[in-house]
Every structure is written in C-alpha cells, then in structure tokens.
C-alpha cells in the first residue's frame, strides 16, 4: 500500500511560468492594443478582430495548462487558417450558437510582461480576465490569458493568444463566441 490515489488537481495551477517576483507592466501601446482586442471580441466585430492576427497566429484554449497540444486535445487550437474559417462561419449570421451573438463585456487586468524578445520584436503579456456573457442567461468566464504581440512596421500584430479557463476542467458550456 505505497501509492495513494491522487486528489483533485486544480484546473489552473497558480504559476503559469511567470517569474516569482513583480513583473513590469506593458507599455501603453501594448495595453491599448490588448484592450482593443477585448473590445472587438466583446462586440462581435469578427472581421476587425481577425485583422489583428499575424500570419503565424495561434489561438489556443487548452483543457489543462501544461498540455502539449501535439499530444493532447484542446478546446480550441486555431492556426491562422482556422481563425479565418471561424470568423467566416460567425460572419454568415447563421452560426446558430452565436445567432444572436452573446452580449459580452470583459475585464482584462493584472497585466504583466513575462517575456520580451527584442530580436523577434515580440512582447508576451499575461493577464487575468473576467468575462460576463449574456445569452438567454448570464454566465461568467474567467481565467488567465497570455498574449504574444509583435511590433511590425505596420503596427502591432497578435501572434498568440492562449486562454487558460479556470473552468477548463469542464464541463464547459458552448464556447462559440471569441473568448
């Protein structure tokens, strides 16, 4: 009787790879960009939201924070082409699970720069978010969101958005809007 059954694992561990000490806040233009991204998603402005993404995009909602997406299924794992398809489906106006679209407002806060890569021109920002969704009834979604943003001659571009839902352990309600 050596090993004992493991107890519940927290859906989101407290540490998602950020340094233990205080981290710098992002520059003002990055904050504006992330706030803008949140507003476009909230307001179902799908095509404008799609325009934020760079070609090597990845929009990822894992089932567990430490999952390797090559080995584990995710809720969403969209490359640039899949993002385009997702937006095209929403734009038909016939995506029943978003017809009518969810009415949403999200707060994104506690922004910390976890990584800056001068050579690649990228900045990685980890934030907490709370999203209030109304569609027939009100739901709350919350978690940790990690954005990787690239500075380009044409302005800021979104490279990566990873959403660690606190409820990723499921069951998860329909998630057809832009989280």
């Amino acid at each position: 009787m050596t090993m004992i059954a493991a107890q519940d694992q927290p859906a989101v561990p407290l540490n998602l790879g950020a340094a233990p000490g205080p981290l710098p806040a992002p520059d003002a233009d990055i904050v504006s960009f992330l706030t803008y991204e949140a507003r476009l998603a909230d307001e179902a402005r799908y095509s404008e939201w799609e325009q934020l993404w760079d070609d090597d995009a990845l929009y990822w909602v894992p089932m567990r924070p430490d999952d390797d997406p090559a080995k584990k299924l995710s809720y969403i794992y969209d490359n640039r082409n899949r993002i385009k398809s997702r937006v095209a489906q929403l734009n038909t106006g016939n995506r029943h699970s978003q017809t009518p679209p969810s009415v949403m407002r999200r707060l994104i806060s506690n922004m910390e720069v976890t990584e800056t890569d001068e050579a690649a021109g990228t900045v990685t920002v980890a934030s907490n978010f709370a999203l209030f969704e109304y569609r027939y009834t009100q739901r709350v979604w919350a978690g940790r969101v990690i954005h990787q943003v690239r500075r380009t001659p044409d302005g800021l571009r979104l490279v990566r958005k990873t959403v660690h839902l606190i409820s990723a352990g499921g069951p998860v309600d329909t998630l057809a809007f832009l989280i």
Binding site: M1, A70, S85, T92, S97, V172
Partner: protein
C-alpha cells in the same frame, strides 16, 4: 423543466411496470419523454441499471494501477486496472460512511484511501486497512470481508471499448452489440495494429438538452443542411452532398437501439480515398498508408481508406463519430454532458495530430459543428415547454424502410429510421418492472 401532460399520459409510476405505448408510438414520441422527471428516473433505473453501458476505453487504463472515475447513469464508478491485470468497474463509495472514495479524474494507484476515516481499499476493490481497528468488535468482524468496494457485476469489452452492466444477469455484450459490432470493426480496420487509443483527452461539453436529444441527433441525416449550413456556406462544402437524392448514403436501424448513417456505398461509388478526411491525398500520409497496406494488403487497405470510419450510435450512450468517439452522461431531464475524444492510431503521429486538429475544429464546445448542435438541442428543450402539439413526428421515410440482413435500411439518408429504431428499443426497456 416542464411537466408532462397528465391528461394524455396519465401518471408515470417510478416503480413497477409502465405501459410505454401511451408515450411512444412506432413513428412518434410524446414530448414528456424529454421533460418528465419520472420518465428520466425510469430511464436511469432501466436503461442504465439493467443494460450494457459504455464506461471507458482500455487505452485509458493501459497499465496496472491506472484508474479513471466515470458514471453509469447516475452511479459514480472507478474503472480500475488491478495489479492482477483485471479491469474492474467499482462503485466510487467508501463502504464505511459513503464518502466518495476516488476524487481525481484519473491516475495510477495501487490503493484508494478514504480521506474521511482512512479506510483503504486495494485497486481490486477489497478492503485492506481499517485504522484503529481495536475500536471494532465481533459485529464488524462478521461483515468485514463483505466491505469491499461494490463491484459492477458484469464488465466486458469489445475492440477495447469497455462496457459495464449493473445487473448481474442479462444478455452478453456480444449479443447486446449485435449488428453494431461491425461498426467497431470498421474503426479498428483503420489502424494497422487493429487497435485504437482514446487517451488524448476528452472535451467535456455541457448540453442544455435531454440526453436523448443529443444522441438522436448524432444519427440524424436530415439536419445537416440546415443546422450546419454556416459551415458549408463559409468554409467548405460537405464531404458528400447532404441532399438525399444526390447520394447513395443510407441510414440504418441496426436493431437493439443501435443505428447509423452509412456513407460507404457513396464513397465506394466515388472510389476515392480519404473523402471522409478532408480529401487529403494519400501521398501526404505515406507511412500510414504503407503500414495499413502491410496489415491488410493493398486491396483491402484501399477499401478501408475509401469507406473510412463508422458514424454509428451504440445504444444507449456511445457514438462512434467517424474519427471521434463521443459518449454522453445524462444529468437531468434538460442537462447532458457530452464527452468527445479523438481516435488515435498507435504509431501514426502525423495522422494523429491532424485528427486532433480536426476534432477540435468540428467537435466540442467551440466546434464548428457541435456548438450548433448544442444550441439546437437547447432550443428543442425550450420548445418542449409549449404544450402543443403534444407529439414529436418521426415518420419520415416510414413507408420506404426496407429490411435486409444488415437491419432496417432507408436509402433516403434523411429518413428518421435511426430514431424509430432508438425508440423501439427505448419502449422495450423503459416500461419494464422497477423494483420498489
């Protein structure tokens, strides 16, 4: 939650027998089958307590010590691969004061210790340790040997799919699967080793609909053009037409509540490989095709790659969803959890990554298909709050059903033949005697 119309149905007893013909005819079902708490209770007591229910896949508990927590109907169970090599399905409850014993979704352990008073059970279910045992006397000594975790009396598997029955007696698993065994074989044929793996994670999606709405829809060949129009309009045309007159796709009632949409005749007519897999050319998966040809010979491998996997509902809770597997857990009359995994072919990583990305695209809470099925199911449940009409119509194709050696077939893929088969089985089970 709505109440059923007592004028038509009368009172549904929660014990004893019940005349199901008051709510299920051969081509229509009464709305109360989706909304009545008494009927839901009868389903849990009959379908999920007397028959075979899918619980897990062997690939998820491959090593001794591996365990998972699941449900059979509403009973929480632990699927445990014992150190003796036997896979058991044990009631997830401490025999002392009923604490849920195992609280993790999965793991590896040789024993389960109750966190309440420390009673410890081996992963074969037997009680191995009772702390401070001096406090117990003769009365306890008499029953101690019987205080293991309660073992599900019947557990069997086919093709790695583990099924359990809470009833000690009944038909064998093979008899239960009957015509649906071929559907499992069809999926296994796609693997050069003859085995599949479902251990890459289950998407857990909450549906606000009765569990039957969720499973019936999986073998509905009528809805795609409407429910999923946005996919075909915006992204890509359907793999083959959903207009019944244009295709040789059939629907089939396999008996025993099992049913399917079978694309194989249409695919064989096209004689094109991977139509079911985004029409990818075989040159993109050379290692896989080579391994499959080695396993089956080139001729059968070609046919396997032409017809692809099955699209089959296995009564009551398992759906072979082509390169996905879905099972459902009924929660309440209007709430169901759907679990979806990708079908992984051992040793074929290139194929598997593609399969996982396809699963995420189509299935689960954010999937291009299933998110909308979930919405439609929720609206179905909402529509049932209207008291009229009292009945749902399932008569499409009733006059064109033909019986052959494979079951009841309809060559119009939009026929409601699968749903009629589902409710024939339902009626034969739900009315049976429930002990008081």
């Amino acid at each position: 939650m709505t109440t059923m119309d007592n004028d038509v149905v009368g009172t549904v007893p929660t014990t004893g027998t019940f005349d199901v013909s008051t709510i299920v005819k051969n081509h229509r079902v009464h709305g109360s089958v989706y909304t009545s708490p008494e009927i839901f209770h009868r389903e849990m007591e009959t379908i999920f307590r007397t028959g075979w229910v899918y619980v897990a896949h062997e690939s998820e508990v491959a090593e001794p010590g591996d365990y998972l927590t699941r449900r059979i109907g509403r009973d929480p169970v632990v699927v445990a691969h014992g150190k003796d090599g036997v896979i058991r399905v044990l009631q997830n409850r401490c025999s002392h004061r009923a604490n849920r014993l195992c609280n993790a979704e999965s793991g590896n352990a040789t024993s389960f210790r109750c966190p309440y008073h420390g009673w410890t059970f081996s992963n074969d279910g037997s009680l191995t340790a009772v702390p401070m045992r001096d406090g117990y006397g003769e009365e306890f000594a008499k029953v101690r040997a019987s205080l293991g975790m309660v073992e599900t009396p019947r557990v069997d598997s086919y093709g790695g799919f583990i099924f359990a029955s809470l009833a000690p007696d009944g038909i064998s698993l093979k008899e239960h699967l009957g015509g649906a065994m071929g559907a499992i074989d069809r999926v296994l044929d796609l693997s050069p080793t003859g085995k599949i793996d479902l251990s890459r994670g289950w998407m857990k999606h909450l549906h606000h609909a009765n569990w039957k709405m969720v499973v019936e829809n999986n073998v509905d060949g009528y809805h795609a053009l409407f429910t999923h129009a946005s996919v075909y309009d915006a992204i890509r045309p359907a793999k083959v037409s959903h207009v019944p007159s244009k295709v040789q796709t059939v629907v089939r009632d396999l008996g025993g509540g099992h049913s399917e949409i079978d694309y194989s005749a249409e695919y064989r007519k096209l004689d094109e490989e991977f139509v079911w897999y985004g029409r990818i050319p075989r040159a993109k998966l050379p290692e896989y095709v080579e391994a499959l040809e080695k396993a089956h010979g080139p001729e059968k491998a070609h046919d396997v790659l032409v017809i692809g996997p099955s699209h089959t509902l296995i009564w009551p809770n398992l759906f072979l969803a082509e390169m996905n597997v879905m099972y459902v857990e009924p929660v309440a009359t209007d709430e169901t959890i759907a679990y979806t995994a990708a079908v992984i072919v051992p040793g074929q990583e290139k194929l598997n990554e593609r399969t996982m990305r396809r699963s995420e695209g189509a299935m689960g809470p954010a999937g291009f298909l299933i998110a909308d099925d979930g919405e439609i199911g929720m609206r179905n449940q909402a529509g049932l709050a209207a008291r009229g009409p009292e009945w749902l119509e399932l008569s499409r194709g009733l006059e064109t059903d033909v019986e052959d050696e494979t079951g009841i077939v309809n060559h119009d893929k939009s026929a409601e033949t699968p749903q009629r088969g589902f409710y024939r089985q339902w009626a034969s089970v739900v009315g049976q005697e429930i002990p008081a």
